[in-house]
């Protein structure tokens, strides 16, 4: 195999941070080269430099041995380099075909207008090559995440791409959609395209990768063929220390009931019944759209229920706003912490104190000294990596952002805490820390609910797991009885589903 792409000695500094330090990575034609590393290790920075979205301080980019200039995404495309980002860069209101041919619309032969007929024809052909039939006249916003991703790939391929980089492609995909993506990737590599694949999910890397490069703190720690490494050794390389267990081994003692939900119906939810005890972690499994987030939002007062009752410590509550829920001691760590959790314009300390300012008043004014002290205490307690509580929260990595939100809820002294996909997009080290904190909360007598699409995580952490399908609870499994197969069978209501 010859080197199709070589990134040589790439350096990138941010004020006070060395994001990339002499990074050298090679990609061969027809190869899937995986890049792994913790959040903040520099993977995304590397991809952005390759795509021309960021400027490197030093280093060279060579394609087929020749030095090339990539200073903008347009340059990158001209060199046959495209990136499929985690949050797709499509225009939601435009149609599938318009998106695929954005910026290179075919023009009619006789008139200076867009040739829609040939545009749709070519778009359809491009999609068919990827084994996908999508109506090319549909607006992109009406497509599923998986379909949008395929449109992105089709868009990249329509401009003769030789190097395709994926940034966390599986984040929005179901298991089945992921298998389809893998099939597409294999077809592309057989045609000689080089693939760079960034993911947190190590299982995927073993399935699709040929080689893997581990990046830690902006440096390449190791590059090796995938068959010479295993999951454990990769994790060790990523975090730079030995990880004993994937999950903290803490025994919890379940005590009295703290929350009970009876016959709740609303939207897609039908007749939801369950109870949560102090000192336990209750898991919610199910496919995306099964109604898990909807239940959390109703308990938290973010949405309203149609019928049914909620009891907190035996007393009926019906919160009509998040504020009312917070006041009785319920907290929700929302899914998608950037969109629904953080105020990115604000500082770390301000984000932590946002829900508990009532306790930080001195007369009519904020007691900023106390605010900073409290925030510092949480930063210390949760090991949040930030220079100071006055740092803008934008400069923090995903795991540390999640800890900031967790600190916000710890500051409100919640009695019931709901975690909705708390470890999505977080690296292994930070995940473990979040697990430890959740266990600690349960130990301290908080009722913890965990919604997650990561089955091993639910199995490793929860005492009981409730499985949902299509707005209903389809089963409840005790820790000892639960397996991935049983959960998937209940989540899909199909007997034959296998979880890879």
């Amino acid at each position: 195999m010859s080197a199709l792409l070589r990134l040589e000695g790439i350096c990138k500094h941010y004020p006070g941070v060395r994001a990339l330090d002499e990074v050298t990575v090679e990609l061969c034609s027809g190869e899937v080269h995986c890049i792994v590393g913790e959040n903040g290790a520099g993977k995304s920075t590397l991809i952005k430099i390759l795509s021309g979205a960021l400027h490197r301080d030093r280093g060279e980019i060579l394609i087929n041995g020749a030095r090339v200039t990539i200073d903008s995404p347009t340059d990158a495309l001209r060199q046959g380099v495209a990136v499929i980002y985690q949050d797709f860069k499509l225009v939601p209101e435009l149609s599938v075909a318009e998106n695929i041919f954005l910026g290179k619309e075919p023009i009619q032969e006789t008139m200076p207008f867009i040739d829609y007929a040939s545009m749709h024809r070519n778009a359809r052909a491009q999609l068919l090559q990827l084994g996908e039939e999508i109506d090319t006249t549909l607006a992109v916003s009406t497509l599923s995440a998986a379909q949008q991703q395929i449109v992105e790939i089709a868009k990249a391929l329509s401009q003769r791409v030789r190097i395709l980089a994926f940034d966390e492609p599986s984040a929005a995909l179901t298991e089945r959609e992921l298998l389809k993506l893998f099939a597409i990737i294999r077809r592309l590599t057989s045609e000689g395209v080089g693939i760079m694949y960034i993911s947190h999910r190590l299982d995927e890397i073993f399935e699709i990768g040929d080689r893997v490069t581990v990046i830690r703190d902006g440096r390449v720690v190791n590059t090796s063929p995938i068959i010479t490494v295993n999951k454990k050794s990769l994790i060790q390389l990523m975090v730079g220390r030995k990880l004993e267990d994937e999950f903290p081994n803490v025994a919890l003692t379940r005590s009295e009931e703290i929350l009970r939900v009876e016959n709740i119906s609303a939207g897609i939810l039908r007749n939801i019944n369950f109870s949560l005890h102090r000192g336990e972690i209750l898991g919610f499994a199910g496919l995306v759209g099964a109604g898990r987030t909807e239940i959390a939002r109703i308990i938290f007062g973010a949405d309203v229920k149609e019928t049914g009752s909620i009891f907190l410590r035996g007393k009926e509550i019906s919160p009509r706003s998040p504020r009312e829920a917070i006041d009785v001691g319920i907290g929700l760590l929302t899914e998608n912490r950037n969109r629904l959790g953080l105020i990115t314009e604000m500082k770390v300390g301000e984000n932590i104190s946002l829900s508990s300012l009532n306790g930080l008043l001195k007369g009519p004014f904020l007691d900023k000294v106390k605010e900073v002290q409290t925030a510092r205490r949480f930063v210390h307690q949760l090991h949040i990596k930030t220079p100071d509580v006055n740092e803008s929260v934008e400069n923090l990595s995903g795991g540390n952002r999640q800890k900031v939100i967790l600190a916000r809820w710890l500051a409100t002294k919640s009695k019931v805490l709901i975690f909705d996909e708390p470890t999505a997009g977080i690296d292994v080290g930070a995940k473990y820390e979040i697990y430890v904190l959740m266990k600690k909360l349960a130990q301290d007598g908080v009722g913890v609910i965990m919604i997650s699409s990561d089955l091993p995580e639910l199995l490793g952490l929860c005492d009981r797991i409730i499985v949902m399908h299509d707005g209903r609870i389809t089963g409840e499994l005790d820790r000892d009885a639960a397996t991935q197969e049983k959960i998937m069978a209940l989540a899909t209501l199909e007997g034959d589903v296998r979880w890879s």
Binding site: P15, P322, R323, I343, L354, S355, P387, D388
Partner: protein, 319 residues
Amino acid sequence: MVMSNSSRTLSSVLGKFGIGMTLLVEVILFSQFSAYFFTAENILNVSLQLSITAIIAAGMTFVILTSGIDLSVGALVAFTGVIATSVLKLSIPLLISFPLAIVVGLLIGVCSGAFAGVCVTRFSITPFIATLALMTIFRGAAYMYTDGRPIWGLPPEFSLLASGRLFGIPIPTLITICVYGAGYLVLHWTRFGRYVYAVGGNREAARLAGINTNRVLVSVYAICGVLTSLSGILLAARVNSGQPNAGLMYELDVIAAVVVGGTSLSGGRGTIVGTLLGAVLIGVLRNGLNLLNVNSYVQQVVVGLVILVTVMMDQSKKK
């Protein structure tokens, strides 16, 4: 890491310094060309002139911080003016009519702002449209109410509100200082102020953090409304009449002051001190150009250019 923090502080100092620099250049230039410019009398005069827009701009800062906008301020100045002055003309003792005029005037502002806030929250109308509608409603109402004619013949005591001085400083200037002092305290030292930034930064996240976002939004429009009406009363006192065409295009001057002062139109970022500097910058510019006898057509062009350049400098610093 320490470095990143201190360089950030440095750039934010430079950011504040940037508009200060423009202001300094302005002052130096005008002092060169006009002997009268840098006299105590002229400085007090400028402060009096710019107080009207500056007071509204303080309120507008709250609105823009929540990523909103209030286009109705100019028309509200006129409407408040004609209503307050007509209260003064009622045949009741001045001791009653004077405070009554002020209270009624301010109430108009509060109600109008709160109404805009309700449109934005309960009825999910975008702030631009809601306040655009209010703008034409108030302007039309001011003309309807006065039949297009100014209200004259006010008690002479009323004009003291604008022309009077306390400790040698014009009353509107003192009011401006108080408004900005209070605005600073509220924005940076109270829970409500923090919520204003949170709502502007991310409204849904703010709601899920337990903030009553609707109440915050209604409040900021009410604050903007009451400060606008305050300005309307002061303006009526200054021209000693209720003019239905008062405050034309004020909304643009006010928004310009806020934006030049570094507040982001997309919300969540900005300071009220910046707004004050922005209002002063534009006020001093107008005054200087007047002293230099630059004709009013050219003045508009120059003011526009200065706004552009200041914001450009601000943007390039952020990169």
